[in-house]
């Protein structure tokens, strides 16, 4: 599904990614871990099309297509979704209107019919219940005045509604208490399916107790310095990143 080869990128002339290689297939969950400043979020941003990064080398293919050539919204149309670390507040933009317009924009781009109001309402209520997002928040402005946990629940709600094929979760666990973490992980797990892949970017192993990864990659200084199964996350939890960083430097 996704093939990243020797991806190198910089911000304002400062190299952040220094040759990332990663293969993601459908039905797989990949966890990207690493210390602060290792380039985890940069990778997530570049995959979703956020501006401000210069890709100096390498390629990213998504279903055989050059992903980096696509506009942000085209990536969304083709099933790429980024759950953001810091969801943006949109004062005055109604949460439900936003969700419906997003769904319809994606459907339209795929040549599908728009969703009717009744089906939409039914689905959004059902999904909101699954992520325990207060229905009142659906009628409010997007993320405006939401707590940290509510914002993250709202991200997962969007993901559930848009049903992406490649979902990238950027530090979705940051700032969440254990109950919220569990709810969100449950929501994410509901979406696991044979034709869908997940990339979970996280600093802590904690989230991976609930969203079980098939592969764990450790990112440091813009490179994947170690890949392994889910046991790698447990090892990291025990020994910290220092252990690997020393190894990589040696």
């Amino acid at each position: 599904m996704l093939s990243i080869k020797n991806l190198c990128a910089s911000v304002d002339g400062k190299a952040i990614l220094n040759g990332i290689n990663l293969e993601v297939k459908a039905d797989e969950v990949h966890a990207i871990m690493g210390p602060n400043g290792s380039g985890k979020s940069t990778l997530a941003h570049i995959l979703s099309g956020r501006g401000g990064y210069t890709v100096s080398d390498g390629e990213v293919h998504y279903f055989g297509q050059n992903l980096l050539d696509l506009e942000t919204e085209e990536r969304a149309h083709k099933g790429v979704f980024l759950a953001m670390q810091y969801p943006v507040e949109l004062p005055g933009v109604n949460n439900m209107t936003f969700l419906r317009e997003s769904m319809n924009a994606i459907r339209k781009a795929r040549g599908e019919a728009e969703i009717d109001a009744v089906s939409f309402m039914k689905r959004v209520r059902h999904r909101a219940k699954q992520v325990k997002l207060d229905e009142k928040l659906l009628k409010r402005s997007v993320n405006a005045g939401f707590s940290g946990g509510e914002k993250k629940r709202n991200e997962i709600l969007q993901m559930m509604m848009l049903e992406p094929q490649l979902a990238i979760l950027d530090e979705t666990d940051s700032g969440l208490d254990i109950d919220a973490l569990r709810t969100i992980a449950d929501g994410v797990n509901l979406l696991r399916s044979p034709d869908r892949a997940l990339i979970v970017v996280t600093h802590y192993q904690r989230l991976l107790d609930y969203i079980e990864p098939d592969f764990v990659h450790v990112l440091a200084s813009g490179r994947i310095i170690r890949s392994g199964g889910k046991e790698l996350a447990l090892e990291l939890e025990e020994k910290g990143y220092e252990w690997l960083l020393e190894g990589a430097a040696a």
Partner: protein
């Protein structure tokens, strides 16, 4: 005085000479005094602080004519598409002339509606004596011209304690026939003590290229404990000129809630003179403006806290795109005796183009020492992060921009009580943002 001004003065003098005497000496004297005032003042110019950023050069170049029109015609079907919710009364003005056949009055007790022209024809002193009672004969040239040659307008009076639930609508339609002319209309609205009314003012053009000048004055008096909801939507043609001075006297414990939308006009300027004359009164004033290529939109607010224990809140938001230009000047004056006043003034501008311009000047002049006042102004662009967020959810750049612009204006649109107007304005905003292509 420049050539154009002397032409206007000549026209005003001739206009007054032609009037029959039936409207009474008092009004004729006012007209003559206003003509004299105009001769002294001439047209406003950039040397005057209140007109510094609002050039009238383009307006003067249009060479508008003052004409004495008594007839205008519009078929009922032509206005049908502009009608919203049921009304207690609707006064339709076509090219500034009251149209009894298009107007509606449900005949509710305690509500009196009529036209200024009818009052003038009948020499109705009780109405005519009120003309200019709040505005004076004119504090700038255009206002003086309005007084000198005013022809028609609405006269609305609501008796003590009467609550009119359904709106009273003033619908102004400009036809092609108004092109090249200036129209002087003046409304007078009196709410007696404890009366409550929902007043809707709409300005529409039937011809998108019609080039005319609406030079309006609106005098509104709120008696003790009266309550007025005042919804105004200016959607003149994009080649028209629109000037309106709203004079507002607010007695004790009265409540005024005004909301404005200025979308149309090549050039438009609205001035509010709100004056508290009794304690415990409240004035809320909101507005939104959109100005694109070839447009200038101006709001001047002048809120006078002349007595204690009154509250005012003003919130105006604008979107500027293309080479659109806006002027915002909000002055809150809290006088020495106006203790325990509360006044909060905000102005926010969203700039969608580098060529757009806004000149904003919020001012608080506070002479009392026990007050709560604040003001704030912002001038910003669309947030890149917000645009990215929306695009990452599948919306293209234009859709994302439209949604954010609607979001920006929603706070003001929601202040319109009329659902019909809220929906209509949102549609118009979306339309305008769809034509807009530059970032």
């Amino acid at each position: 005085m420049n050539a154009c001004a002397s032409v206007f003065q000549q026209a005003a003098t001739e206009y007054i000479d032609r009037l029959s005497n039936c409207e009474g000496e008092w009004l004729t004297e006012q007209r003559q005094a206003a003509t004299q005032r105009f001769a002294e003042l001439g047209f406003p110019h950039a040397g005057l602080e209140a007109w510094r950023y609002t050039s009238i050069e383009g307006l003067l170049q249009q060479d508008f004519k003052i004409t004495h029109r008594t007839q205008a015609f519009l078929h009922h079907e032509m206005i049908q598409q502009f009608l919203g919710e049921p009304v207690a009364a609707r006064l339709v003005f076509v090219d500034g002339i009251y149209q009894p056949n298009l107007s509606v009055h449900t005949g509710q007790t305690g509500l009196s509606v009529g036209s200024l022209h009818a009052a003038m024809a009948a020499g109705d002193r009780s109405v005519l004596r009120g003309v200019g009672s709040l505005s004076g004969i004119g504090d700038h040239g255009f206002a003086a011209l309005n007084m000198a040659t005013l022809q028609d307008g609405a006269v609305i009076q609501v008796s003590t304690g009467v609550a009119i639930r359904q709106p009273i609508e003033l619908l102004h339609m400009a036809t092609k026939g108004l092109s090249g002319q200036v129209q002087h209309t003046r409304h007078r609205v009196v709410l007696e003590a404890g009366a409550s009314v929902n007043l809707v003012e709409r300005y529409l053009s039937l011809d998108s290229e019609s080039n005319y000048f609406n030079n309006m004055v609106c005098e509104i008096s709120l008696g003790e404990g009266a309550s007025l909801v005042h919804q105004r939507a200016q959607e003149e043609s994009l080649t028209a000129y629109h000037l309106c001075d709203v004079h507002l006297d607010i007695q004790g414990d009265a409540h005024y809630q005004g909301v404005n939308a200025a979308l149309g006009g090549a050039w438009s300027r609205t001035t509010f003179h709100a004056r508290f004359v009794g304690e415990g009164a409240n004035c809320e004033l909101d507005g939104l403006y959109l100005a694109g290529e070839g447009q200038l939109t101006d709001f001047h607010l002048n809120v006078d806290h002349s007595v204690a224990h009154c509250e005012s809140r003003e919130n105006f938001k604008g979107i500027l795109y293309g080479a659109g230009k806006a002027v915002f000047d909000g002055l809150i004056h809290v006088r020495e005796q106006a203790q325990k006043s509360q006044a909060h003034l905000y102005n926010a501008n969203l700039m969608l183009s580098r060529r757009a311009e806004v000149d904003t000047k919020p001012q608080l002049v506070i002479l009392a020492d026990d007050v709560k006042c604040s003001h704030g102004t912002t001038v910003g662009q669309l947030d890149d992060q917000a645009l990215f967020y929306l695009r990452s959810r599948g919306l293209d750049k234009d859709q994302a921009k439209r949604l954010l612009c609607l979001g920006f204006t929603n706070e003001i649109v929601d202040r319109f009580q009329s659902e019909y107007l809220r929906d209509h304005l949102r549609e118009e905003i979306v339309k305008r943002m769809s034509y807009e292509r530059q970032v």
